[in-house]
């Protein structure tokens, strides 16, 4: 039996009242790729941050290569040979690649020799692992794939023997992801130990030697990858049998509700994110937009929801919408019968410090039903909230709680209740079940389907292919601001969509 490269014993960590990690133990063999999966908020990132000395565990021990090691800060982790690529990159955007790599690992007080040495070593590392980067480019000039390589190089430059990657493929196309896995293979061949965090079962199955499953802050199982299958892992992840499809009757699409022609969106830094798309959503159907995060889906939803300007034509029930200037904001969109469940409920959909009853009016606070003279009719608001809490089974059923005091799933229920109950002609839904438990997922999915069955149009954006498959009546795939193609769910599969998502044109697929 070889000595494990990493051994965690009884790690616990609480953030205030939230217990992010509960008594976690895990052991990773050297020279292997060890996967960790778990739902959003399961505590994966927290655990790794503890290993990297970024957070301090409340309880527990860390053993590296058979030695009990104290890791009070990242310096100690680096010294112990640990490198980490965070879910959200930790790069200084207006520094060059080279400066980012030497930052914190300089030799001596002067910069010039450090940079020269790093430049030379970088060449060697590039050769060794096929990690090509331009050392003199600034971080804000290179793409995310490249940024990730910089992060990996940062770790290797610090002589990391253990490499932690936290959801490295979330921002990558399947092709880029494949390249990453080739690199990881090479690293493993060199004898390095790798911990790979992801929720994507496919990646786990393809890349890892061993896999651990986390749920609600606890480690529920560790199994050899070769001895398990996706179904079993999914069950371990959520704690019960997973329902892969939503029960629903076939769609009966009616007249077009939303018609998009040649829509273009440029973000605040001047980058074009949506590059001329055409799309129609009809009454009584759910159109799902699939794609890797960052390919323009968010911007599409935001333009439709009145959150940012765009150009081109959008017609709602045949009437053109203003895409910039007056009449293009969220208030106008709501008046035109568009409701919007935003991608990020905590930053957008709710005011976390408002009471639930104040949030129930959020976006509709100008509705005459909520007014009494020049004042807001708070009594009416609270009565309305009571009803919605009841109907959507929000727990705890207390309208006076602040939004931040509800769990993620219940927060999402408040948002969904508010938007669906408006009975809109068009419902925009972004990542409706991100970070929501399976029970709530089912409930929210049912509500969305019910709305469709009332003959409403629904545009769904999700990065979870599974969700797209189970809800959509029609699927459009976005890549790099374009719609690569539309498919019917029963006529396609994950493989084909994956190729589209990677920008491989439909004909070739």
């Amino acid at each position: 039996m070889t000595v494990p490269a990493i051994e965690l014993k009884g790690i616990s960590k609480a953030f205030g009242p939230v217990q992010a990690n509960k008594d976690i133990s895990i052991s990773v063999a050297p020279g292997t790729i060890h996967g960790i999966i778990g739902e959003n908020g399961a505590g994966k990132s927290t655990l790794m941050s503890i290993l990297y000395g970024f957070y301090k565990a409340d309880k527990g021990e860390i053993w590296i290569n058979g030695k009990k090691t104290d890791i009070p800060d990242s310096q100690a982790a680096i010294a112990a040979g640990i490198g980490m690529v965070f879910q959200h990159f930790k790069l200084v955007e207006n520094f060059t690649v080279l400066e980012n790599i030497v930052l914190g690992a300089e030799d001596g007080g002067l910069l010039a020799p450090s940079l020269a040495k790093a430049r030379k070593e970088l060449k060697d590392l590039e050769q060794e692992y096929e990690l090509f980067v331009d050392p003199d480019k600034r971080i804000d000039e290179i793409g995310v794939g490249m940024q990730q390589r910089v992060e990996i190089l940062k770790a290797l430059y610090r002589k990391a023997e253990i490499l932690i990657l936290d959801e490295p493929t979330g921002v990558l196309t399947p092709a880029e992801a494949d390249q990453l896995f080739r690199i990881l293979d090479r690293l493993r061949a060199e004898g390095k130990t790798i911990i790979l965090i992801t929720h994507k079962l496919r990646e786990i199955m393809e890349a890892t030697d061993t896999v651990s499953v986390m749920r609600r802050g606890q480690m529920t199982a560790t199994v050899k990858t070769a001895e398990t299958n996706p179904e079993e892992l999914a069950e371990l992840m959520v704690g019960r049998k997973v329902l892969l499809r939503v029960d629903k009757v076939p769609a009966k699409p009616g007249k077009p509700i939303l018609e998009i022609e040649n829509l273009r969106v440029t973000d605040s830094s001047g980058v074009e994110r949506v590059k001329g798309i055409d799309l129609t959503v009809r009454a009584g159907e759910i159109v799902g937009i699939a794609g890797v995060a960052g390919n323009g889906q968010s911007e599409l939803l935001e333009v439709l929801g009145g959150m940012r300007p765009g150009s081109g034509t959008i017609r709602m029930n045949g009437v053109p919408l203003a895409l910039s200037g007056p009449g293009s904001d969220g208030q106008a969109r709501r008046a035109q019968g568009i409701a919007h469940v935003p991608e990020d409920r905590q930053r957008e959909g709710l005011i976390m410090d408002f009471h639930a009853w104040e949030n129930v009016a959020f976006g509709y606070h100008r509705d005459p039903a909520y007014q009494r003279g020049i004042f807001m009719d708070n009594a009416a608001l609270r009565a309305d909230t009571e009803r919605k809490i009841e109907k959507f089974d929000v727990r705890p059923p207390n309208g006076w709680l602040s939004a931040k005091n509800f769990s993620g799933g219940n927060q999402q229920k408040i948002v969904v209740a508010r938007e669906i109950e408006r009975n809109p002609d068009l419902l925009l839904v972004g990542q409706p079940t991100r970070g929501v438990d399976i029970g709530a997922i089912e409930f929210i999915h049912k509500q969305i389907v019910a709305l469709r069955d009332q003959g409403k149009a629904i545009l769904l954006v999700s990065v979870e292919l599974e969700e797209i498959f189970s809800l959509s009546d029609r699927i459009a795939v976005m890549f790099d601001g374009h719609i690569m193609g539309e498919r019917l769910p029963h006529e396609t599969d994950e493989k084909e969509l994956g190729l589209l998502m990677a920008g491989v044109a439909g004909e070739a697929a």
Binding site: G330, M376, S402
Partner: protein, 364 residues
């Protein structure tokens, strides 16, 4: 769950901060070789021991209610308006123009016009920083600081070159005519048999300030605009989602804030000095920051904090008059209050949160 109960956040933390500030102030008084007990005694009798003292305390408190509300309204929209001083100066200019250049038949009409002018001028002075913040992202803290200095230069110019009566030596306007004299508390309370000091400057502006507290409360917690201001203050992305225009809210909140700061001029310029002098604001714009921080940006809190600072100011003036403690002691106290209730908030909060968490764990 919240980390601690609301009452702890709203009452306990400011109270502890205040006590810390008081302890340090006591140390400062000891350090300069004075007797803190005597000093406090003198302050209390000087500020609260007579209707004269009360008259000054309430006069200062009136100023601070206006500027405190001004800072508070901006805080609700997560805007830090350090420009209250300049806005109040400009408000004074507006009041002086209205009072000097228009023949008013009665003080009541003059007061309404002066209020309008004060709010207009104060709001106008806040408008440019607001616009620049909203449209061009210029940091409002820096621009409002700059505008304070520009206001001082402008007022200097107006008083030295434009509004100084011929032959007068000091840079100040002429006295306002008798017709715009505002009723003082002495005049207002005499009919109901209360003999309030004739010499104290507290005047009907106090009533306006109290009304302003109520109006601001209603505005922030009972109207759509207040809802939008608070929503924007908590989350800009949320506001955009809800169709609340950040540009509009930034500008509107700052206009209201500037108008409130400007409105202070009816008290110090029209009610007290009855002419416009240099530095008539006496730093009230800055004290507004302390008042808003202590009052947790709630109008009732602002009201209480304003009274406290009114007391400190009048008490401090008395100290300067009867002892060798300079009036700057008040500036130090004010600094300590801002420091503890504003900047070092977490120093008090973090241990308290831990305490409440532990208490709750125990309870479970």
């Amino acid at each position: 769950m919240d980390k601690m109960p609301k009452w702890a956040d709203v009452i306990l933390i400011p109270l502890i901060s205040l006590i810390l500030a008081a302890i340090l102030s006591t140390l400062v008084i000891l350090a300069i070789g004075e007797n803190p007990v005597e000093a406090v005694n003198l302050m209390v009798t000087g500020a609260l021991g007579s209707t004269y003292g009360w008259g000054y305390t309430l006069y200062y408190a009136t100023n601070f209610m206006f500027t405190g509300l001004a800072v508070a309204v901006a805080f609700h929209a997560r805007l830090f308006n350090i420009g209250g001083e300049g806005q109040a100066m400009l408000g004074g200019l507006g009041v002086a123009m209205v009072c000097l250049y228009v023949p008013w038949p009665h003080w009541s009409i003059a007061l309404l016009a002066a209020m309008a002018a004060a709010m207009l001028f104060g709001a106008a002075w806040a408008a440019i920083p607001a616009y620049l913040q909203a449209k061009r992202g210029s940091h409002i803290v820096i621009t409002t600081i700059m505008f304070n200095f520009i206001a001082a230069a402008l007022l200097n110019y107006m008083l030295v070159i434009v509004m100084r009566p011929a032959g007068s030596q000091d840079p100040a306007t002429a006295r306002f005519p008798e017709a715009v004299h505002l009723p003082t508390l002495h005049e207002m309370l005499a009919p109901i048999g209360i003999n309030f000091s004739k010499a104290a400057p507290a005047n009907i502006s106090l009533i306006v300030a109290l009304l302003a507290c109520v109006v601001v409360w209603a505005l922030i917690w009972r109207t759509r605009l207040g809802y939008e201001i608070r929503a924007y203050g908590h989350s800009e992305t949320g506001a955009v989602y809800a169709g609340i225009s950040p540009v509009r809210i930034t500008i509107v909140a700052m206009l209201i804030s500037g108008a409130l700061a400007g409105l202070m001029a009816i008290n110090n310029v029209m009610g007290e000095a009855e002419r416009l002098v240099l530095n008539s604001t006496e730093g009230a714009g800055f004290i507004g920051i302390a008042v808003a921080l202590m009052g947790r940006s709630h109008p009732f809190g602002v009201f209480l904090a304003a009274i406290l600072f009114g007391f400190l100011y009048q008490g401090g003036a008395e100290l300067a008059l009867w002892t060798s403690i300079p009036r700057e002691l008040i500036v130090v106290i004010q600094a300590l209050v801002i420091l503890f209730t504003g900047a070092l908030d977490n120093m008090v909060r973090m241990p308290l949160e831990k305490l409440f968490l532990a208490l709750r764990k125990e309870a479970n």
